[in-house]
Symmetry: C2
Subunit: 532 residues, 2 copies
């Protein structure tokens, strides 16, 4: 009996679940090169039925912990999730009206957002190829587009150049940068400066490309300096757009070459080319925490212990013990295995009997801060006044990134992300009280958007991840991800296995947490099978 | 009593309606340069109350005709809309399961799309700054993002080059084109070839830009040829994307410079920079015809006469008479004015007493064909196998543009637009029967997407606008839009005024139809006022 490729695919598809069919198809060469999901075969609950040693305590109900719990349940494991907060998701946290929050500095906030409005304080977007979307599909979480790119959003650059303090549309910045660089390269090629790198055919094709790419002028015979001139383009936009009758539109003038270059405004463009930032990006309809709650629903409420702060954990003979504080009492969970999905720098701090080298490895990460502030306005002035429907305005001030909401278009209200910044800028705002963060944001934002930025504010909420209980940071990085500390945590310490985005090459993405959790549950299953 | 700017804005806002507040704010200089909507003051129903001469027959219930009717109603006019089809919208036509259609060649189709699936046979996207969105807001039509750009969609170029017959991700094409052009320009600048155009500061800033824009290598001292080398980048994508543990991702190799240039693959990029094509683009939730039906609902069913084909129209002493055939009988509508919102080449053909120069002007347009074919599949293989969530794949075959649907993500089924082409390619498919169009589309599509393109097809529908009753074309262009024919139609012919996207500088866009209609109703109101 011969097995056809289709039979094989069908059998894998049935057994596999999210992502498996896809990655296998790629491996068999049936599809053009695609960014495959790293292979994963979900656990089969029949494979080890009746086998002992199949209880797991999951330390931390963030995305890594819940992915591990969810996949372990598929394999027939008995799972308990300990979560210090009163909700699932960890850094995947969506704030809505009525939510309250107190950070480690004692800043207490109550979000006053209107019904239907929200802000994602943690992850806010999902690239098309991330496993995150497979889980959205599998768990029934509806998705919609997150605008990571908007030609009409603003770029704002302060500095010693002619564009200082100007709010410039992305489209205008791009048109000028592409126009001038096309002019320069066409001139260089035409004047023979690149003849050692280009054939005549190459040169002709290059200039044809640049003509269209930069919307530049013709070659002017006998006038190399005047050839291929960039003198502006409708791509920049208009002061009055094309309309009826004789209104053909009033175009805008380009900025000067030296100002465009000196401003560094073109440095932003590469963001949109990034493997994990290029459009199309997506978000769950209704808030990123739809993913967190979909996981917790699928796992089952009874398997969670909330408000359960882990205070000690240890390997025992043949298992693990985890102590947690809940409602003033310290309780203990025992299990055959633990999945330690806590932030590594916090896991290192909690008393345990882990070997010193493991604790040191956990503590060796570098912690990055990030901050986000949401402002609800009583009207969507970015749409109404500026015709910006979602997307990111970017500044070289400490605001860094300003998100125009990708939901609720044309609604009565809307929540802008006033800043999404990292590192020093996040610390700058983080050390302020929430009121002062808002005040500073408004002052900085007015420089870009004008007085409208200060008017009609109906609510605000801000998050400083460095001082968020049970996170104390936005994400971590490794001094050396090829070094022994990282490698050590890929191995279990006794019966304690580790998981989290920090143990992946997609740090700060839910995808990283998920693929790490998948690797970890596979490892546990292999152990159980081998012990059989 | 002094009037503040705010008072002025408020008064205009209240009287104005869609778009007015915005355009006025720009005119007063309160906002950074924006692409303003051409100014329009909606008619005031109190202004000419009780004045005679206020009945209008609207010839054609497309977007121009309905915008005119809607705005005239605001002004207190008595309006009748004659529409030859059995539905409003004209070329704004969304096809759903059960819809039937017979074209002028006798091709009869019944769309078999599943519930919730649809295809927009005409307009399919809306730029952020178009008046179309103002009407969506005013009429309560919900909008969502239309993905006009997707880094993971394919580019496909046949020709005498090394990329012939390869399906290439947009992201890979962009990375290679930007990488190689950055390398070349950095080399030219560094080697002094552009010193007559660049200061030292310019040069330094340019190279810093190119380093990041192209993701190219360092300068290598003493090795100008080896400096700034482009050797690939993660922006191209991976064969296996970054995952857990030690899986840092397997990057892909760039194509050769000569192949990249010879293929002309970079020629597509400028599409995404266009004033009216750059993201963010939008679409009504549920189909473009939501706009058409929102207009017809707002105007009121009783003011429409459907299945009313105009067979003669004429100026009379002090008014107009329009004859139409409905259910075998010829009937007549009389009014003070007509708004002729028919396609100009069809309006020219219908018997009238228009002056010869006006008929000639109507007939002088060049008609463009466009075709679209929708294919419903029993699974969303573009998402599942290729991780493409909406967006456009583009080929230099006669398919031209292939749209991945921007709605229904993760659903069980989906409708791809197998081709959206114009001119000769549209004619090539248009002359085939619908079955043969599908067969050809599948053969061409398989070259890009593989055998999956032929499998699981559950329904199909195609439109050849050249042979669509009451349209006979997709849109028109003017031999000379600054010439006398165009100018003639901006003026009324007696009591007959003209409107349509063809009388705008946004031809083939609903925006063009709307701004033209606005200009026309303003003109009528001015006449009535002057006659007072």
């Amino acid at each position: 009996m011969s097995i056809t490729r289709r039979d094989l695919l069908r059998s894998i598809g049935i057994a596999g679940g999210a992502g498996v069919m896809y990655s296998t198809m790629g491996a068999l060469g049936l599809a053009p090169a695609a960014a495959q999901t790293p292979p994963f075969t979900p656990l089969d609950s029949n494979a080890l039925r009746g086998r002992g040693g199949r209880s797991v305590v999951v330390m931390g109900g963030g995305i890594a912990g819940m992915t591990a719990a969810y996949e372990l349940l598929k394999g027939g494991y008995d799972v308990t999730v300990l979560e210090a907060r009163d909700r699932p998701g960890g850094r995947n946290w969506t704030v809505r009206g009525g939510d309250t929050y107190t950070d480690l500095d004692g800043n207490r906030q109550r979000a006053g957002f209107s019904r239907g409005e929200y802000m994602n304080t943690g992850p806010g977007r999902i690239p098309q190829m991330h496993v995150t979307l497979d889980y959205c599909k599998e768990l029934g979480v509806a998705v919609e587009v997150f605008n990571n790119q908007n030609a009409d959003a603003f770029l704002y650059r302060e500095g010693d150049h002619g564009l200082h303090g100007k709010a410039i549309r992305h489209r205008a910045a791009k048109a000028d940068v592409y126009g001038y660089t096309s002019e320069l390269l066409a001139k260089a090629a035409d004047q023979g400066a690149l003849d050692s790198y280009l054939t005549e055919d190459d040169k002709e094709a290059l200039i044809a490309f640049l003509r269209r790419f930069g919307d530049i002028g013709d070659k002017v015979d006998g006038d190399p300096d005047g050839s291929f001139a960039y003198t502006g383009t409708s791509r920049r936009g208009y002061t009055v757009q094309p309309g009826a009758g004789l209104e053909s539109g009033v175009e805008t003038d380009p900025y000067a070459l030296s100002d465009v270059l000196a401003s560094g405004i073109g440095q932003y463009f590469a963001f949109e080319f990034g493997f994990d930032q290029a459009m199309v990006m997506l978000q769950p309809v209704g808030g990123m925490d739809r993913i967190a709650y979909a996981f917790s629903d699928a796992i089952g409420r009874r398997r969670f212990r909330y408000n359960a702060e882990i205070v000690r954990y240890r390997n025992t003979t043949g298992g693990v013990e985890v102590d947690y504080r809940q409602g003033g009492a310290v309780k203990t969970v025992t299990a055959d295995f633990a999945v330690n999905a806590l932030p590594p720098h916090l896991a290192a701090r909690i008393p345990s009997n882990l070997p010193g080298e493991v604790v040191n490895a956990l503590a060796s990460v570098r912690v990055t801060n990030a901050g986000k502030l949401g402002i609800e306005y009583d009207r969507r002035w970015w749409e109404e006044d500026y015709r910006i429907y979602g997307g990111i305005s970017n500044a070289n001030t400490d605001l860094a990134n300003i998100w125009h909401p990708s939901y609720g278009y044309h609604g009565d209200k809307g929540v802008m992300i006033g800043y999404y910044n990292t590192g020093g800028s996040a610390d700058t705002y983080g050390t302020l009280t929430p009121d002062r963060r808002l005040r500073r944001t408004v002052e900085q934002g007015k420089k870009i958007f004008g007085d409208v930025y200060a008017r009609g504010i109906t609510a605000s909420f801000s998050q400083n991840w460095a001082r968020a209980p049970f996170s104390e940071g936005a994400w971590v990085s490794w001094p050396d991800q090829t070094g022994p500390d990282y490698a050590r945590l890929l191995e279990p310490a006794g019966n304690i296995h580790f998981a989290g985005d920090h143990l992946s090459h997609a740090i700060a993405w839910q995808h990283g947490a998920m693929v790490s959790a998948r690797a970890t549950v596979t490892r546990i299953q292999d152990r159980v099978a081998a012990a059989g």
